[in-house]
């Protein structure tokens, strides 16, 4: 029994291998469509349950949906926000802050990381203070940042910077350390000096890890910015979300949350896309 089963599996495998050029394609499309349908149903079900919980003022004791607006209310608030024209300044304020903090963090994180990973002296001088600051969550910097920066804008960008810096720094150091020593040896044998080794071997070798650090850094940048805006901000999607709470515009809280999620996702996609463009050799594998 088991023998004949194994045999038929082997024949199936052959048939699949032989037919994979033409016959597999319709099957693949059908599978993709089926998965997509399941996912759409899943999201619909999730929103439906939420609607039900909100509309029925569901109380479970430890958590209550009494004050949770229903999806329909959230959608209406979102349309109202878009029509009012107030969304754009909030979006612009947040995006400018994130890209300022993230941009400076990318430059300093990569430069510091390269220096620390390549030079013992730089490691001894630069690493100890960074190692002390590293375990402090960026959010814990908020009170001090407000004291240190005369403008609220400066303190929020600084918090964003602090959040993005360490993932970028650590991934750069890690990426440089992981560059295969045979590649460096090969380059030296071929007559490369330190400059060529840095720009043509070390940096491209560390690039995949740096891109990962940038993507993680972009995520933490949004996280830190939203928190900072809730405390120190005027304008910005974090500020908008918190303001909605204080003004008791509950549907707007969820609008703010969803906008923050969308912005975070779009920025991560942007960083990964740019990273892919910068490391084209990895896609051809």
């Amino acid at each position: 029994m088991s023998l004949s089963r194994a045999k038929s599996d082997a024949f199936d495998a052959d048939a699949t291998a032989a037919g994979s050029g033409a016959a597999a394609t319709p099957g693949l499309v059908a599978t993709t469509v089926r998965h997509a349908c399941v996912r759409i149903v899943s999201v619909t079900l999730f929103i439906g349950l939420w609607q039900l919980a909100s509309a029925s003022h569901l109380r479970l004791g430890f958590v209550t949906f009494v004050n949770v607006p229903a999806p329909t209310e959230v959608f209406e608030s979102f349309i109202a926000l878009v029509r009012s024209g107030k969304l754009a300044p909030h979006l612009a304020a947040s995006i400018v802050r994130v890209f300022a903090g993230f941009g400076v963090a990318a430059v300093t994180g990569i430069l510091l990381g390269l220096a620390i990973a390549r030079s013992k002296l730089a490691e001894d001088v630069l690493w100890p203070p960074l190692e002390i600051l590293r375990p402090i969550p960026a959010v814990a910097w908020i009170p001090l940042a407000i004291l240190m920066f005369p403008s609220a804008e400066g303190s929020m960008v600084f918090i964003t910077y602090t959040g993005a810096l360490f993932p970028i720094l650590l991934n750069t150091i890690h990426g440089v350390a992981e560059v295969d020593h045979r590649l460096i040896s090969s380059a030296r044998s071929l007559g490369a000096g330190w400059r060529a080794i840095l720009f043509e071997v070390i940096i491209p070798g560390a690039a995949p890890s740096i891109v990962t650090g940038l993507a993680i850094g972009m995520g933490t940048a949004w996280f830190c910015l939203v928190t900072a805006e809730m405390i120190a901000g005027q304008f910005g999607v974090g500020y908008y979300t918190w303001e909605s709470y204080t003004l008791q515009n509950y549907p707007d809280i969820i609008v703010g949350m969803l906008v923050i999620g969308a912005l975070g996702m779009a920025s991560s996609v942007l960083v990964r896309w740019a990273g892919g463009r910068l490391t084209p050799w990895r896609e051809t594998k």
Binding site: S185, S186, S189, G191, E200, P204, P280, T284, K285
Partner: protein, 273 residues
């Protein structure tokens, strides 16, 4: 391939490699002790020995990757102080730059020598044609087979016109058929460029097939155990493996290497159990 052949010539005057009394320790552990070897210009020498005997360490010392005392290793009388373009290196695998195309990998050496980008590319094309891979110039290394990657590695080393070519088990990671083809190809290239070659391997057949002279190393600390001149016709005939001279040399190598492998084994059992 006229441009490549011209650089060869029949009687190369450069590429004399001398190693005098080389000793290397890793910490307190002596890896190489009183190792001496002279390779004549244009000679093909295989360094053969049990694994762990320090063959690759000798090669790395010649390449300049392992610091040595100034007088111990020299090429044409110039002491080796670090890596240099007079000694081209081919590693076992994964030494092509993954982020450079095949053409850019080969053009890297000439560019480092100060050639213009256009000149470096044209030199790279010449050597890619030499190893039969010009059609793959714009591919990334990861898209090539292991054997093709090694041919690119050889082209990248040769384009700098090294007087000594150092090869560290370059075909060790390839399957048997590919390895045989690569060996044939290497000899064909070598007939044209006539550089001195120091080739590390643990494969006796490979060493006998390729070399003018096989140098057998001892169990660690590594030193020269036997210098065996290989008296086989060149170019190697297809049935070289069936020749009595081949069988005799192989028997001699096998006996010595088996005995040294046993010593490595005993040494490891004494020290690490």
């Amino acid at each position: 391939m006229p441009a490549v052949a011209e650089q060869g010539g029949s009687a190369p005057a450069v590429g004399r490699l001398e190693i005098h009394d080389l000793s290397i320790r890793f910490g307190t552990n002596p890896v190489i002790e009183n190792f001496g070897l002279t390779v004549e210009p244009g000679e093909f020498v295989c360094l053969l020995g049990p694994s762990g005997c320090g063959k690759s360490t000798v090669l790395n010392a010649v390449a300049g990757f392992v610091p040595v005392e100034s007088v111990t290793v020299s090429v044409d009388g110039r002491p080796v102080k670090g890596p240099g373009v007079d000694r081209g290196m081919v590693f076992q695998q994964y030494s092509l730059f993954p982020w450079k195309t095949v053409l850019e990998n080969v053009a890297f050496g000439p560019r480092m020598q100060g050639a213009s980008r256009a000149k470096a590319r044209s030199m790279a094309r010449t050597y890619l044609e030499f190893v039969g891979l010009l059609a793959f110039a714009d591919r990334y290394p990861a898209t090539l087979s292991g054997g093709m990657q090694q041919r690119v590695g050889i082209a990248r080393a040769l384009v700098n016109h090294p007087s000594v070519l150092l090869m560290d088990e370059p075909f060790g990671a390839l399957d048997a058929q590919t390895r045989g083809l690569m060996q044939e190809n290497l000899l064909r290239l070598w007939e044209e460029i006539r550089a001195t070659v120091l080739f590390v391997t643990h494969d006796i057949d490979e060493a006998l097939y390729l070399a003018d002279r096989v140098v057998i190393m001892s169990a660690p600390p590594g030193r020269v155990l036997l210098n065996l001149a290989i008296d086989l016709p060149r170019p190697r005939p297809d049935d070289v493996f069936a020749l009595p001279a081949f069988a005799a040399a192989k028997r001699q190598c096998l006996t010595l290497i088996r005995q040294e492998s046993q010593r490595v084994f005993d040494h490891q059992r004494r020290n690490f159990s």
